[in-house]
Every structure is written in C-alpha cells, then in structure tokens.
Amino acid sequence: MPVDQSLVGRTFPPTAPYDVTEDGLAAFATSTGTPYAAGGPAPATYPIVVAFAAMQELMVDPEVGIELHHVVHGDQRFVHERPVVAGDRLVAELTVESLRQIGGADIIATTSAITDASGALVCTAKATLVHKAGA
C-alpha cells in the first residue's frame, strides 16, 4: 500500500541527544580513511549518524506504513553551518518535505535539522528515501 499523502509536512519528535565523543569521531574517520585530527572537525558526512536515527524513527513508525527492508537511500545532501566537533550534543528533527509515487515506489523527501545543546543549527541533512511497497 502506498504511503499516505498526510505524511507530508509532518515533523517527528527530536531524536534522543547524541553525544559526539573523541572515540566516536576517530572510529568514523578511520573506517573511511578520512583525514582527522583529535577533537575534530568531523568528516563532512558524520552528521548522518544523527540523521540516520531520525530516519529510523520515520521508518519504524507503524502509522507511516513503511516496510523497512524495502527502503533504499535515494540521495543525500548536507549543508553545514559549522563543523561537528567532539563534545557536541546533537539532536535531529526530521520533517517530511514531499511524497511522490512513481512506478509503485514512494519517493519520500526528508529534511533533518541537526542542532546543538544551545539549539543552534549545526547541519541540515536532506535525504530522499525510496520505498518499494510490497516489492
């Protein structure tokens, strides 16, 4: 069953605060071989850690009706207000921007605002999720 249009404009509750640690940053940078100095700045794709948690909240919500194993990541965009550094406490708040149905797939465009402990915007992460219902 296609995802219902009423999802458009919905903003999900913020994710649980995520503490960026020195070890976590180093592990992320090491796994992708990315240049990294202790403490940060983090690799440019690091905010996916928080954005991914927000996307999971969307995908597991029974009201949304997404089958988790039928979702692929269509595209991703990051706009950084400042680099993430160790010591940041980040939350992501995901909003569904648009929903289209093409060829039996739901194309779900999302924007996650990633903010720090002061509430300041650190990064905007835009992801398109492609859901092939009942595929």
Partner: protein, 128 residues
C-alpha cells in the same frame, strides 16, 4: 572549465564496512552479510551509499590538506558498490574539477567503481 584534481583510488573491504557500520550505527545486514544481500536480489554485499559519499568527502579533504572546509556535500546513490569478500575487496576511484564562481568554491566530483559511476552528480561546496 575549472581545475582538474588528480584522481585517487581507494580500496574498500568488508572489514571497512563492518567498521563503518559500527561507527555510523547503520547495521543493515546487506552491507555485511552475503546471504542476506543476495536474498534481497543484490549481486552481493554492497557498500553503504553513505560510505561511498564519505570517500568523496575524504577526497576533497585530502585535496585541501585538512578536514572542515566542506560546507555542502550532495549526491544521488545511482549504482551499488559491490564489495567481494577478502582483503582485496573492491576499488572506488574519485576525481574532481574545482571551480570558483562569484566567490563560491565548488568541486564537481566523479565517483566510479569498475565501469560504473556509482554516485549521481556528487559535488561539494567549500568554505570561502
């Protein structure tokens, strides 16, 4: 126009994907388990799309010489990067063209694995 940046080739192994899964929190088994990947119709274990995008960001950081200069990064995930078992894994090659317009520095990237372009329109915008 713009300035061509020397291509770089990065080796990707399943051990890298396991390490990335732990570091990123994305434990989807299609990135680690051959049986599950093939069961959902994939040719084998594939890299996380975000792993490949991270390599694109790495390439820009290596070109600049230090991290923290990328203010925008974007791509479409167009083709999977299949990662065979073993220490050889596979290779991902990144190249780029740097440009500056109206004071905005950009890098248009090309990311390939084998004969395939694996990212669509990958691009980075740099801090001025």
């Amino acid at each position: 126009m713009g300035t061509e940046i020397e291509p770089r080739t990065y080796r990707v192994t399943r051990a890298d994907l396991v390490a990335y899964a732990a570091a990123s929190g994305d434990q989807n088994p299609i990135h680690q388990d051959e049986a599950i990947a093939t069961a959902v119709g994939l040719p084998g274990v594939i890299a996380h799309g975000m792993y490949t995008l991270a390599l694109a960001a790495r390439y820009v950081d290596e070109w600049i010489g230090e991290p923290g200069h990328v203010v925008e990064l974007a791509a479409k995930f167009t083709k999977p990067v299949v990662v065979p078992a073993g220490d050889d894994g596979t290779e991902v090659t990144v190249s780029g063209v740097a440009d500056e317009r109206d004071g905005v520095r950009t890098v248009a990237l090309t990311v390939t694995s084998g004969d395939d372009k694996v990212l669509g329109n990958p691009r980075a915008v740099l801090r001025g």
